[in-house]
């Protein structure tokens, strides 16, 4: 069982984001970290490979400046190797271009049975990339998995729906997106962190994957940011310290709203 996990390396979400004043794109120049959302896919992949009794987990990522710090975190968890797509022509790529790049990267790894992704990234959160990768590969996709099981050449998931969940299955190879919280991502061990430093990262450009500069980045994204403006602000209201009786103030507040 060979599994590719798409992982994104993002600016620390705890630090307020900034836009590049020239391009209005999110600034991604500084140190990047592994998107927390992706740690569930990495953990799920490691568990599925163990359950299958063999195979390996390969990471697939696209990032500026040949950034690998987030990849090292996932390698330290136990992934065997990574493909990193990085070059300046990729800046400004939309989700569609990104998905095409990731799909080509999966093909470059070769012999992959299953691709795992998060449902959406923390910073861009378009939420379209999992099914776009699947369509680019010509594979089935099972999205929003709450659980994942593999047997007899098929992958079966519980898929989150508006009403509850569906049991959904597809023959391998396939793409599965997993929701957060469904497994508990392991913490990298010290040994894992040391080993991760030596694990292979295949660094490639968009050109290596067969893309021309006009197919990716700003040129390939078919959209233009026309304005960035402030949203109407919301004012803070009354703030009180609980003195053991603040519930009474809330009751008055709810009465005022005619809720009770």
């Amino acid at each position: 069982m060979n599994i590719a996990v798409c992982v994104k390396q993002i600016p620390d979400p705890a630090v307020p984001g900034e836009l590049n004043p020239e391009t209005s794109a999110l600034k991604r120049e500084g140190k990047l970290i592994l998107d927390d959302s992706d740690s569930y896919g990495v953990e799920m992949a490691l568990q599925l490979v163990t359950a299958a009794g063999g195979g390996e987990v390969t990471l697939v990522s696209m990032a500026p400046n040949n950034e690998t710090s987030g990849l090292r975190t996932a390698l330290a968890m136990g992934a065997a190797k990574a493909v990193l797509v990085s070059d300046d022509t990729l800046a400004g790529s939309d989700a569609l271009s990104t998905a095409k790049i990731l799909a080509k990267s999966v093909e470059r790894v070769g012999d992959i049975d299953l691709v795992l992704t998060a449902t959406e990234s923390t910073d861009g959160y378009t939420g379209t990339i999992p099914a776009q990768i699947a369509e680019a590969l010509g594979w089935p996709s099972l999205t929003f998995a709450k659980s994942v099981a593999i047997a007899d050449g098929k992958v079966k998931i519980q898929r989150q729906t508006e009403a509850g969940f569906d049991d959904v299955e597809a023959p391998l190879p396939a793409v599965v997106s997993v929701t957060a919280g469904v497994v508990e991502p392991r913490y990298p061990s010290f040994k894992g962190i040391m080993e991760a430093k030596k694990k292979p990262v295949d660094e490639v450009t968009a050109g290596d994957l067969g893309f021309n500069p006009d197919q990716v980045g700003w040129a390939g994204s078919h959209q233009e940011i026309v304005e960035v403006r402030a949203a109407p602000a919301r004012e803070a209201g009354e703030k009180i310290e609980d003195d053991g009786e603040s519930h009474a103030r809330i009751v008055t507040f709810l009465e005022g709203l005619k809720i009770i």
């Binding site: 959302s37 989700a95 569609l96 379209t128 099972l142 959209q223």
Partner: protein, 322 residues
């Protein structure tokens, strides 16, 4: 100012159109000369009355069989687009519509503008406004390149208003061959019993965050208060990531947008990720131990205190209130 033909990717809740579909129809008829729906499901006839009432002049309907509906929707749209050349197709940011628009974008080689909260025309340009940085900033993005344009809009972005239209005729489309993608099959559907209203449609939402301390506290604090106020319970991303509650409860940027009359945040610090999903609420009440928490910057009433002390007393007081 208008564009010619806008399609709405319709979805249903039982035998009614989803509220998000009616919201998109309302916006579509504001900007387009012709509004039509594309619907994947076997009960299009049951929906045609309401879809017409909200402005659709036609419903293109396709049966998914036992395949994942979004996959069939994308394959059917490829053929319909080639035959009928819509200018813009609107999708709600939902589980099934995301599958459909994602696959369609690859097949047509078109970008998708996602997470839209606003939609407008500027001359012949179609512009989608998206909230970023916790909803403090709006980015307006215009489509360039070939039509049809593909836009995905977050539910609750527009009000749904009837146009008093008559029932829309249903045009049945043959189920397309989706190739290997169509091999994803739905084996069984499970409907989870829900007490009270849906999260996105509730007039009152009570959400819990890391400050409730444990998965076990969610029931007696968050669910209990929500039930008492006939509201719905939600969650911050932190406790979804921790596995305390399922993803379907998540309010925020990577979860659902809610705009209730009253939003109650229990033990939620108010990261930008969360604020973008709830700051459109009419009134916000927050209880949090940390007086510096950003949630207080948007709260109409903020209680600096321990949810474990305040909420049980509050529940008791409301029960006594009668």
């Amino acid at each position: 100012m208008s564009i010619e033909k806008v399609w709405v990717y319709a979805e249903s809740e039982g035998d009614k159109p989803a509220t998000s579909t009616l919201e998109l129809l309302t916006k579509a008829r504001e900007i387009a000369t012709t509004v039509e729906c594309v619907y994947v499901g076997d009960n299009a006839d049951a929906l045609a009355g309401a879809l017409g009432e909200y402005g659709a002049s036609k419903v293109h309907a396709v049966s998914p069989g036992d395949a994942l509906p979004g996959v069939i929707g994308a394959a059917a749209l490829v053929e319909l687009v080639a035959a009928e050349s819509p200018d813009l197709i609107l999708f709600a940011q939902t589980y099934d519509a995301r599958d459909a628009v994602a696959r369609l974008s690859v097949r047509l080689d078109r970008t998708v503008l996602t997470n839209g909260g606003e939609l407008r025309l500027d001359g012949d340009r179609v512009i989608v406004g998206t909230a970023i940085f916790g909803g403090n900033t709006i980015v307006d993005t215009a489509f360039t390149g070939e039509k049809p344009y593909l836009a995905m809009i977050r539910p609750k972005s527009f009000a749904a208003e009837s146009a008093s239209g008559s029932a829309a005729p249903v045009a049945t489309v043959a189920t397309p061959d989706a190739g290997r993608a169509g091999e994803a099959k739905v084996l069984e559907r499970h409907v989870e019993e829900r007490e009270g209203p849906k999260l996105e449609e509730a007039a009152i939402v009570v959400s819990g965050g890391r400050g409730i301390g444990s998965a076990e506290a969610y029931g007696p604090l968050v669910d209990e208060l929500a039930k008492l106020l006939q509201g719905a319970s939600g969650a911050s991303r932190a406790i979804v990531d921790a596995g305390w509650v399922p993803y379907s409860k998540q309010v925020g940027q990577t979860g659902k947008t809610v705009k209730p009359k009253l939003y109650i945040a229990l033990g939620i610090s108010g990261a930008t990720q969360h604020l973008v999903g709830m700051k459109g609420s009419d009134v916000i009440l927050a209880i949090n131990k940390d007086g510096e928490a950003p949630i207080f910057s948007v709260a109409d009433l903020g209680i600096v205190g321990d949810v474990h002390k305040v909420v049980p007393k509050l529940i008791e007081a409301i029960q006594a209130h009668g």
